[in-house]
């Protein structure tokens, strides 16, 4: 906290709570994470975490090594060496059905232009594919078809046995940066500013073969598409570097009712304002999107926005949720939202619904010091406007996790087992519910006592 004393100015008066960075006091009653375990292993930035099953996950990053961990104990299960360059994409390939025993595979793509399939149970390399012309930047598993796709300068379709089923022609403009599965065997690929829809069709020759056809190119975005997420069977959402958020119909691939220019004035103005305010494009770039059935959550610059698909407007936002760019957000089952940022912190938010005008804000602790001049007023006005109309929603900070000393790249939520975060400081931290862990330890203790027969009195 000394930091504020050194750098921060006095808190500007009259700021509405919503616009300044919300912060908590040191008491975080709702924050369940009271125990942490630091997992050391990587020696470079850890960028990816992927869940394998209920209690295992894999981590990968710039050191090219993949680690498998036990999420309960923090035990390092395997250290997978095979890539010579940094890892660019990772995907879990769950077993296809009940036919064979649980055979968990993970796919990793690296800058060394290879993709390796690993067996998570034995920690062995199953197979290595190295016939790529460029780095594979994204991997998607189409569970339904039991194939996986790799996207780089072209789109390749592979089956479980790592046979190349088909591939597209070379995409000239840019590489595929993101892939999302759409209904009717379609895939949306983000290529630069464009969104390309591919469709997989049963190949005419082979029995098992697939062909991939380019169906449509959508060029609605002004800038590079950074994030791409499927909301439900009917819609998917894209976000671009300049803050455009477009909601698409997943079946006919047209931007839905609110298209790019008109879809939400408040949101739009905000982004416009931002652009004017700071020339930093990062301030508005949509880094990550996530969604539940009714809302899309967007990590925009330092802020988090909640866009309601029904109401077709932003229902809640935290413009400066973090000190720095938000890198990853995820929706937890219990109406909570977790975000992590370049500032090294992870924050837990709750989307609260209020029927009335809220009484003036809950005390925010003594760290409420960040202000953004005019922009804040604007937002507070819009906020007031919104409050007048209907039920209002707000994102309340209920806890923050501070442990990493550098950007938190990603996190994984393991419901009961806790939260795993990975960071540019080479560490992975396992955040746990201290109460639960204590109970578990007691349980193990008495089991062990029984086992050792120590429960008998000994003199």
């Amino acid at each position: 906290m000394l930091r504020w004393l050194m750098g921060g100015g006095r808190e500007p008066q009259g700021l509405s709570e919503k616009s300044s960075m919300q912060s908590l006091g040191e008491e975080q009653i709702q924050n369940p994470y009271t125990e942490l375990l630091v997992l050391k292993g990587h020696h470079d930035i850890v960028r990816f975490l992927v869940q394998i099953d209920d209690c295992r996950f894999a981590s990968a990053g710039d050191d090219g090594v993949v680690f498998l961990w036990n999420a309960q104990t923090g035990e390092k299960l395997f250290e997978l060496h095979g890539h010579t360059h940094k890892i660019t994409a990772i995907a879990a390939f769950p077993s296809s059905g009940a036919c064979e025993e649980k055979n968990h595979l993970i796919l990793t793509a690296s800058a060394d232009r290879t993709v390796i399939v690993w067996d998570c149970n034995s920690g062995r390399e199953v197979q290595k594919v190295s016939c790529f012309h460029s780095t594979v930047k994204c991997l998607t598993v189409l569970q339904r078809l039991d194939v996986w796709l790799s996207g780089g300068s072209d789109l390749c379709v592979w089956n479980r046995k790592l046979d190349l089923l088909c591939k597209t022609s070379h995409i000239t403009d840019a590489d595929i940066s993101a892939l999302v599965e759409l209904p009717k065997n379609c895939v949306a690929a983000a290529v630069g500013k464009e969104l390309i829809i591919f469709r997989l069709v049963v190949s005419t020759e082979g029995s098992e073969g697939w062909d991939v056809l380019e169906v449509k190119r959508l060029a609605d975005h002004q800038d590079n598409i950074l994030s791409l997420v499927s909301v439900n069977d009917l819609t998917f959402v894209t976000g671009s570097h300049v803050g455009e958020l477009i909601v698409w119909d997943a079946l006919n691939w047209i931007s839905q009712v609110c298209d790019c220019n008109t879809w939400d004035p408040s949101f739009h103005t905000v982004t416009q304002q931002e652009i004017k305010l700071s020339q930093n494009q990062h301030e508005v770039s949509i880094q990550h999107l996530t969604s539940d059935a009714e809302c899309v959550f967007a990590a925009v610059g330092k802020g988090i926005y909640v866009y309601n698909l029904q109401m077709k407007r932003v229902i809640a936002c935290q413009r400066t949720a973090h000190d720095s760019i938000v890198l990853h957000i995820a929706r937890l089952p219990n109406r909570q939202l977790v975000s992590c940022s370049e500032d090294g912190s992870v924050r837990i938010w709750e989307l609260r619904e209020k029927q009335q005008l809220p009484a003036e804000p809950v005390p925010t602790g003594f760290l409420n010091m960040w202000g953004f001049g005019r922009a804040n007023k604007q937002v507070s006005q819009t906020a007031k406007k919104m409050q007048e109309s209907t039920t209002t929603y707000s994102l309340e900070l209920i806890g923050d996790l501070i442990g990493h000393s550098s950007a938190v790249q990603m996190f994984l939520y393991f419901s009961e087992l806790g939260l795993v975060t990975c960071s540019a400081d080479h560490l992975i931290i396992l955040w746990k519910d201290g109460e639960r862990e204590s109970r578990l330890r007691s349980l193990t203790l008495f089991q062990k006592l029984e086992q050792n027969d120590d429960l008998q009195l000994r003199f």
Binding site: M1, L2, R3, W4, M6, G25, E26, E27, Q28, I29, N31, T34, E35, L36, L37, V38, K40, T73, G74, E75, G344, G399, I402, G403, H404, S405, D425, L427, I429, K432, G434, E437, S438, R439, R441, S442, L443, T444, L445, F446, K448, L449
Partner: protein
């Protein structure tokens, strides 16, 4: 000598009180000026009146063959130590109780001089007039020039407090045995190399003489010899004889079993290992040395290191020569080692006996707290156990079991029992060692088989040597040794299995031992080892014995099957017992009533010895002899199975008997201990230096902590932070100051595991989350520079995990504390003045805390539902209730106990699993800034 009144009586309690002995003196810190009008002994604080010295010291003296008993040195080596106390007189006293009528020269039936491999003897004696009581440890060192090659020495621990000597006898005995063993090892080494030089000289002399004779022969062709020629021939013959004798001596000394000598442990800086002492060069400056040959030939040798010299037959008056000093007698390295050890002993036993006893009990108890003791206890105390294990591990299962058992089994009874046993024996008691059992056993385990044989030969020879009168005894000895040999072989497979040989051995050895113990009581030299090829020299004896023993053997087998035979067997042994009792010279001086029951007892005891092949009994050393006294002989097999746990049961014994037995038991245990000790280490036990360092550290830490709590009004929350597992950072520019604070506070830091304390005294780099996971108390440098800003930034960032004590501005930033526990722990108005006292106070309260944590962690129903329908909430509320009502914890104290319990759980669960990082637990609680 034997009936010397000065040998302290092992009195029973009642008699003891009658005698109005001096009260034990208190440690200095407790002592108050004497009440001027108090009569002697009227108040418990009075010091011993008669004594002319104040502090305990160690005296080494020698029975010089030239001037008689003389003191050599004292430890501490300070004139003040002994004060007006007459060392010369006391040396005479202590040397005079030595039983070792050193057996010199040629034993009957043997043509060569033999070395006495004399075992140490341990005697307690007191001089109430002088107010001095002493534990006296006699030992003999070899000296080629000395009479019988032996020089008797003794080391005595002299104290004004009789109780101390009595109650610490066992410990003293262990420690002195170690020191003695070290000294003797060095002496053997020196002796061997001296012999080698001597041999070279002799060899050279022979060559010269031979040449001269040849020349004379040639010169003189008349066919008859001149007087001169005859003289030369005689000279040559005597030189040759001398060579053979010396070679034999060298063989003897070299083959002395180097038990337990772990060279790597022992002299890490010495390249050559003690075993090939032959090649070892002795740094001893042996200039001119006279040689006294027992073969009546007085040879004169001038020995510069390597060049052989001519030795002339020349009779020298033995009083002319200058005897070697103690330092010259041993290798310098070993000598200094021994001195170190003795210094260590002096330090260890410094202070009042009650203090020592309490410490011992405390340590033993702590070891029992295997689940909680890691939290606050010293590493060293706990490590000792590990070290002990390691030690004994290297010397085989026997010691292993016993050592560990001794440590683990209840220590309090031990103290009581030994007290009892000491007190109860009225008679003057030379505590004698029966080394047979151990001797025969240890080498089996530790030495290569090849060694065994030799060793055993010595062993048997030893017995022969020890008995200067009576052939039967010699025979017995021989027999025994054969048996032992057999046993050693059979032991490898199955020691319990009663093969005929083993059984025979039991019977025989039983008798043998009974003989031995009589000797012991009568202060006879019992354990001198005379190396001998017994098969060559005493073949008849073997036969005789084995035949004679046939009967006993048969009977002996049966008891194990049929208890009714016991009587018969006992009778048998009675007979056997009668047979060897011939050392009348010794017994004669004993009071008859003493002898009688003893004979009875010893025969029982010998049964114990029949158990030679089994490992020492697990319960306690002391119980070893004891047990055997009460279990019938047939229980051998059971005993050897190690199912032994005999408790002292007074109903078994008449008090008189009890006293005898305890005496005997004691002597037995002592002997055992001594041998065990000698087996495991001649090196100073590593625990001791450590514990002394710790003692100092404790004192310092306690002192600093006292200062801290007096100086800082916010000591309580700081200590609370430590106890609840929140990392405390001591921030400051001055390294010394920060380190001092860290040292002070470190006594409050619970250990997270059995590894080092999670305390980091000085860090200069910025901290990260890993540090808080690893360290609970960190001294951090405050840097006035951009880097410093960075560091402060990281502190601010992690503020929820840490408390910050700013040593420069005297502020503390940490959570609030309102409990009652810490105020008791750290009362700034405390009357405690001394650091070590305060340290103990802290330990005391922390131990209470540990027990609370233990209760909390291991109470089943506090953590698990009593029935299935119970909800988590109700368990949680039960938990809280327990903490608050049963354990009486207030506010934040709950968190302390919870944290400690968590550590206990972790430790218990992960005992086997190591290397897992401890997790960092934390709370989201607000911090406050405290200022002075």
């Amino acid at each position: 000598m034997i009936s010397a009144p000065d040998v302290v009586a092992f009195t029973r309690e009642e008699e003891f009180e009658e005698e109005a002995y001096n009260e034990p003196s208190l440690p200095e810190e407790y002592s108050v000026p004497l009440f001027p009008f108090a009569n002697h002994g009227a108040n418990p604080w009075s010091k011993c009146s008669g004594s002319k010295f104040t502090k305990d010291f160690i005296l080494i003296s020698e029975f010089s063959e030239q001037v008689g008993p003389q003191p050599l040195l004292t430890i501490p080596n300070d004139a003040k130590v002994s004060g007006t106390f007459d060392l010369n007189y006391f040396s005479l006293r202590i040397m005079s109780v030595d039983y070792q009528a050193s057996f010199v020269g040629h034993p009957p039936g043997c043509s060569y001089p033999k070395l006495n491999f004399v075992e140490d003897s341990k005697v307690v004696l007191g001089d109430s007039k002088e107010g001095a009581f002493a534990y006296v440890h006699h030992l003999t060192l070899y000296d080629l020039e000395a009479r019988g090659f032996v020089r008797p020495f003794c080391m005595a621990y002299i104290s004004t407090d009789e109780h101390k000597i009595m109650q610490q006898f066992q410990e003293l005995s262990i420690e002195f045995s170690k020191a003695s063993e070290c000294l003797k090892t060095g002496n053997r080494k020196a002796f061997a190399s001296e012999l080698e030089k001597k041999l070279k000289d002799l060899d050279y002399t022979r060559t010269v003489l031979h040449n001269e004779t040849e020349i004379q022969k040639k010169a003189n062709d008349k066919g008859f010899y001149t007087t001169q020629a005859i003289e030369k021939a005689n000279e040559l013959a005597s030189v040759e004889k001398s060579i053979i004798e010396h070679q034999d001596l060298l063989k003897q000394i070299r083959s002395y079993p180097y038990r337990k000598l772990k060279d790597s442990d022992f002299h890490p800086y010495e390249p050559e290992c003690a075993l090939d002492q032959a090649n070892a060069s002795v740094d001893q400056d042996s200039t001119t040395s006279n040689l006294d040959d027992p073969g009546e030939t007085h040879l004169y040798a001038r020995m510069p290191s390597y060049t052989p010299k001519l030795i002339k037959a020349k009779s020298a008056k033995c009083f002319d020569k200058k005897l070697k000093t103690l330092e010259e007698l041993c290798d310098v390295y070993f000598f200094t080692q021994t001195l170190d050890q003795l210094n260590q002993i002096e330090k260890t036993f410094r202070g009042d006996v009650c203090y020592l006893l309490t410490n011992q009990i405390c340590e033993a108890l702590l070891k029992q707290q295997s689940i909680t003791n890691f939290l606050f206890e010293d590493k060293s105390v706990l490590d000792e156990k590990a070290a002990e294990k390691q030690y004994s591990g290297c010397q085989g299962s026997n010691q292993d079991t016993v050592n560990i058992k001794c440590l683990e089994e209840s220590p309090i009874p031990k103290v009581l029992i030994s007290l009892e046993s000491y007190k109860s024996s009225v008679e003057s008691v030379p505590i004698k060692m029966e080394r047979e059992i151990e001797d025969s056993r240890e080498p089996e385990v530790t030495e290569p088989i090849a060694f065994d044989r030799e060793n055993l030969e010595y062993l048997d020879a030893d017995i022969k040597g020890s008995i200067s009168s009576g052939e039967s005894i010699e025979v017995l000895g021989t027999e025994k040794s054969t048996i032992v040999l057999k046993k050693s072989e059979s032991q490898a497979s199955l020691p319990i299995h009663p093969s005929p040989q083993v059984v025979r051995s039991k019977a025989v050895s039983r008798r043998t031992i009974s003989e031995d113990s009589i000797e012991v009581l009568s202060l006879c030299p019992s354990e001198s080892l005379i190396p001998e090829d017994f098969k060559a020299s005493y073949p008849s004896a073997i036969n005789e014995e084995s035949y004679a023993d046939d009967e006993g053997r048969v009977i002996h087998i049966s008891p194990s099957l049929n208890p009714s035979n016991i009587e018969e067997m006992e009778g048998n042994s009675e007979q056997e017992k009668l047979l060897p009792v011939d050392s009348a010279c010794c017994i004669g001086k004993e009071s008859p009533n003493f002898l009688e029951p003893l004979a009875d007892l010893t025969h029982k005891h010998c049964d114990d010895d029949g158990v030679v092949s089994i490992p020492p009994q697990p319960y306690r050393q002391v119980d070893q002899g004891f047990h055997v006294n009460f279990t019938d002989c047939s229980s051998h097999d059971v005993v050897s199975g190690g199912v032994l746990s005999y408790e002292l049961d007074p109903h078994y014994l008449s008090s008189r008997e009890a006293s005898r037995i305890s005496l005997d038991e004691h002597s037995d245990s002592t002997s055992y201990v001594s041998s065990a000790a000698s087996t495991c280490s001649e090196t100073p036990s590593p625990a001791h230096p450590l514990s002394h360092i710790n003692e100092r550290h404790k004192k310092k830490a306690g002192q600093n902590a006292l200062k801290f709590i007096r100086q800082y009004p916010f000591a309580h929350p700081a200590i609370y932070s430590l106890l609840s597992g929140r990392t405390l950072i001591v921030l400051g520019e001055d390294e010394a100051m920060v380190k001092k604070l860290v040292t002070a506070l470190s006594i409050f830091v619970p250990n997270c595991g059995v590894y080092a304390k999670p305390v980091k005294h000085w860090v200069t780099s910025p901290l990260n989350i890993m540090d808080f996971q690893k360290w609970k108390l960190i001294g951090l440098q405050r840097v006035v520079s951009p880097a410093g800003v960075n560091m402060l930034h990281s502190l601010g960032r992690y503020s929820r995990y840490i408390s910050i004590l700013d040593a420069d501005s005297k502020t503390l930033r940490c959570p609030l504390y309102k409990g009652t526990l810490v105020p008791r722990l750290a009362d700034h108005r405390t009357q405690i003045k001394r650091g070590s006292t305060y340290y103990m106070h802290v330990q005391n309260i922390l131990t209470q805390l540990c027990s609370k944590a233990f209760l909390y962690a291991f109470c089943h129903h506090l953590h698990l539902p009593i029935n299935e329908t119970e909800t988590e909430e109700s368990i949680a509320s039960r938990r809280m209730n327990f903490l608050k009502l049963h354990l009486g914890l207030v506010n934040e104290d709950v968190k302390v106990v919870q944290y400690l319990a968590e550590l206990l759980k972790l430790q218990y669960i992960q005992e086997s699993v190591s290397g897992i990082n401890p997790m960092l637990r934390f709370d989201y609680v607000p911090s406050f800034l405290y200022k002075i």
